[in-house]
Amino acid sequence: MTPVFAVVGHPNKGKSAIVATLAQDDSIAISSQSGTTRVNETLRVSIAESQYTLVDTPGFQRPTPVLAWLQAKAGSAEQRADAVASFIRDRHCQQAYPDEVQLLTPIVNGAAILYVVDGSRPYGAEYETEMEILRWTGQPSMALINPIDNDAYVEPWTQALRQYFKVVKVFNPMAADFDKRMAVLESFAHLKDDWTASLQAVVAACRQQRLAQQQASLVLLANLLTDLCSYQLRQKVLTKSQAELLRPVLEQGFFQAIKDQEAKAHTALKKLYQYHHLESDIYDLPFADNLFDTKQWIIWGLNRKQLALAAAIAGAAAGALIDVGLAGQSLLLGALGGGLLAGGSAWFGAEHIADYKIMGLPVGGYEVRQGPMGNRNFPYVLLGRFLFLAQALRQRNHARRDLLQIEEGDLAAQLDLLSTGQKKALHAAFDRLARHKTVTNLELVLQPLFTPADQGRPP
């Protein structure tokens, strides 16, 4: 049996936002203009094998005459549910009270009631008419207090709502994180015994989905890093002068292709988290104005000092292998030399981006090559931008319709949260990527950065 919930209440109290958040659907129309929801919108949410249904309804518009109509129909308590059923079937009522007919229809058909109010505004006695109508339906119900602007009136609302609803919860759909969403879904399970197992399965599937999203975002990032760090644009020409003429075209094509691929990966990441209509303000990779302005890269990646240090760590790890090979007889000169060499090259090569090469072909003519990217900071820049986008997506929910703001994060601070071993592995992997070599265990190396806060890492 599929659990069905009708989200009802006064207009403009966040009903659609609650539906959007719980269904993870960012296409539901949400606006501050009241009356946006004019017809019932039924969302059948399927996660793995489990499912439930949410019905977004228009707000109450004429509760007072509706209650009067019902009271005229039902003389005693056992007639009340039938009176509501007659109300939605009555032709005159359908014309005079279209909003109430819409919102009561799924309830009469067996949906549980989720009644939404605004906890940032004072309680008003006029709400009692709505609650009374809902009580007449006899369906299981729960109240959600949505503290739209603040929680100043949550307490008086709670007191009032408890007289009408068995379960009263505070839930802000705009700010609810994953755990809060799960907590609300779990509380739905208490409304009707028949639905408990289904809703518990939904919650379990949501948690599984969260882990799967994390794993899939790792795959996306690993592919992005591998593809872009080794990306090269080639073109065959007849003469050297043609090759020189082609240089700006090839450079532009190279950087554009990198930007496009990164944008594709970011879009894929958003889709992974079920955002299909989300715009973000993350700007293009900083090539547009000055292709060689690597100074801008420190916004997302590492600064020169951090980069040199990272390279030194990777170089030292590689040099240490020589020391091990010589059974320590090199007096750790391998590690020391490797570290100094790599750190030095990172320091002095911090401005370097990508080479343009003209190669003679054995059969005649030339091949010009732009790339691959030769800057050690490049994989860190890609990582930073992807990581901060992923973190912003994890913290966002589907009720919000504003632009996704990506804060310029501090990648070095994020890396500092890793253990020494994890940091070494990451720097070594990125060192290989910067040298256009394959890293077979890239996802494993990146995994600690994606471990969510609830598993022991800060967001």
Binding site: H10, P11, N12, A23, Q24, D25, I28, A29, S31, S32, Q33, S34, G35, T36, T37, R38, V39, N40, E41, T42, L43, R44, V45, S46, I47, A48, G59, Q61, R62, P63, P65, D99, R121, P122, G124, A125, E126, A152, Q209, L211, A212, Q215, A216, V219, L220, A222, N223, Q261, K264, A265, T267, A268, K271, L272, Q274, V439, T440, N441, E443, L444
Partner: protein
């Protein structure tokens, strides 16, 4: 999402295992087909190598697949301690293959089939090399079996290639190829060599063909599972919708009045407390009369001011009521709390102006507030 690329390690391992299996098949067959010092190869052992062992391996592989044990040639090979650390089955299979049991099994089955197929290809290559480079005499020896016993078995095995008469076994050929180590016999080398066709057909039919089919199926299954695992991560929430709402186009806005400047009747639709009414009196002067919600407001030459809760959205009930009034007036949305009246937010004011705009001649009153 771009088409997911199969990860490096999941390709590296099959490649490495495939090459190793090819070399192993090649070496084993070269050694075996070297035969004795006279270049004689025991036909029965050859059948064991080309037919019975591959068939048994194939059946075992299918059995393990049916049992869903996840074991197989690949997992046993991966468990050997000689591979790089990140190839270790626990680390590799748990993390690299997204923790999906089905995907893990599909991948292991695919690698197992690849290893089996490469063994067969290596073996076939070695066989062809030996046939090209040396004269092989196929003989058979047995203490218990006679040629008459073997013929039906071999003919049964040769059924799949009946269209190739040169590769069919015969009693005469079998009798001519029987060998006894103690007795000095004279064999016709060209006759003994005739078995190569039978051996080749057996190798192709019972080893390469079924393994090849299994390999293709295993690869398709693995790719399908791989795509499924990514899809399940990417679109695991499926929302099917019926009914669709759009943000309505904003209608005309009602005029905004800051001053009243004439006597008025006040309808307290909001059921606001005295401080709010006092505030209106201070801003607009005292009302000629004040009515509560539900009370009948008589027709009057004075303007009608309807006090509403500014933070609440306008509702149909109010609209219905205002439309019944004979004359236009003012809607006064106010915002207040325990501290008193406070400025109405621009969003709420817009909402009330939109609502009042539907009513001909009505204005929104905001006394004492900047325009």
């Amino acid at each position: 999402m771009t088409t997911p690329r199969i990860q490096h390690a999941t390709m590296q391992i099959p490649l490495m295992f495939g090459v190793l299996a090819l070399l192993a098949g090649l070496t084993a067959t070269l050694v075996f087909l070297g035969g004795d010092d006279q270049g004689r190869v025991n036909l029965l052992y050859l059948l064991l190598l080309f037919v019975f062992i591959p068939l048994a391996g194939l059946l075992l592989s299918l059995l393990l697949l049916v049992l869903k044990s996840g074991h197989g040639l690949a997992s046993w090979l991966l468990a050997l301690p000689c591979w790089p650390r990140h190839w270790h089955p626990q680390a590799f299979l748990a993390d690299r293959l997204s923790g999906s049991q089905l995907l893990r099994r599909a991948w292991l089955f695919y690698v197992s089939q690849l290893v089996g197929f490469c063994l067969g290809v290596g073996s076939l290559l070695a066989f062809m090399l030996i046939l090209l480079g040396t004269d092989v005499s196929f003989v058979w020896r047995s203490t218990l079996l006679q040629a008459e016993d073997l013929v039906p078995v071999l003919q049964l095995l040769a059924l799949p290639w009946r269209f190739w008469p040169e590769a069919q076994p015969s009693l005469a050929l079998l009798q001519m190829s029987q060998d006894f180590r103690l007795g000095a016999q004279m064999h016709d080398a060209s006759v003994l060599g005739q078995w190569w066709r039978f051996a080749l057909a057996a190798q192709c039919t019972f080893n390469l063909l079924p393994r090849g089919i299994m390999l293709v199926l295993a690869l398709l299954s693995y790719r399908y599972r791989y795509q499924q695992s990514l899809k399940s991560a990417a679109v695991s929430v499926v929302v099917s919708r019926s009914g669709h709402n759009q943000v309505p186009a904003p209608g005309p806005l009602a005029n905004l009045a800051q001053h009243l400047g004439k006597p008025y009747l006040l309808l307290n639709w909001a059921q606001a407390a005295a401080p709010c009414v006092d505030y209106i009196s201070r801003q607009c002067g005292a009302a000629q009369a004040t009515y509560q919600r539900g009370e009948a407001v008589p027709s009057s030459r004075h303007a009608l001011v309807v006090l509403v809760k500014g933070w609440e959205p306008p509702m149909g009930e109010l609209l219905d009521y205002l439309q019944t009034l004979p004359q236009a007036g003012y809607v006064l949305p106010l915002d207040w709390d325990e501290q008193g009246v406070k400025p109405l937010s621009s969003g709420h004011l817009q909402e009330w102006r939109r609502f009042t705009g539907q009513l001909g001649g009505w204005s929104v009153l905001q006394p004492g507030m900047p325009a």
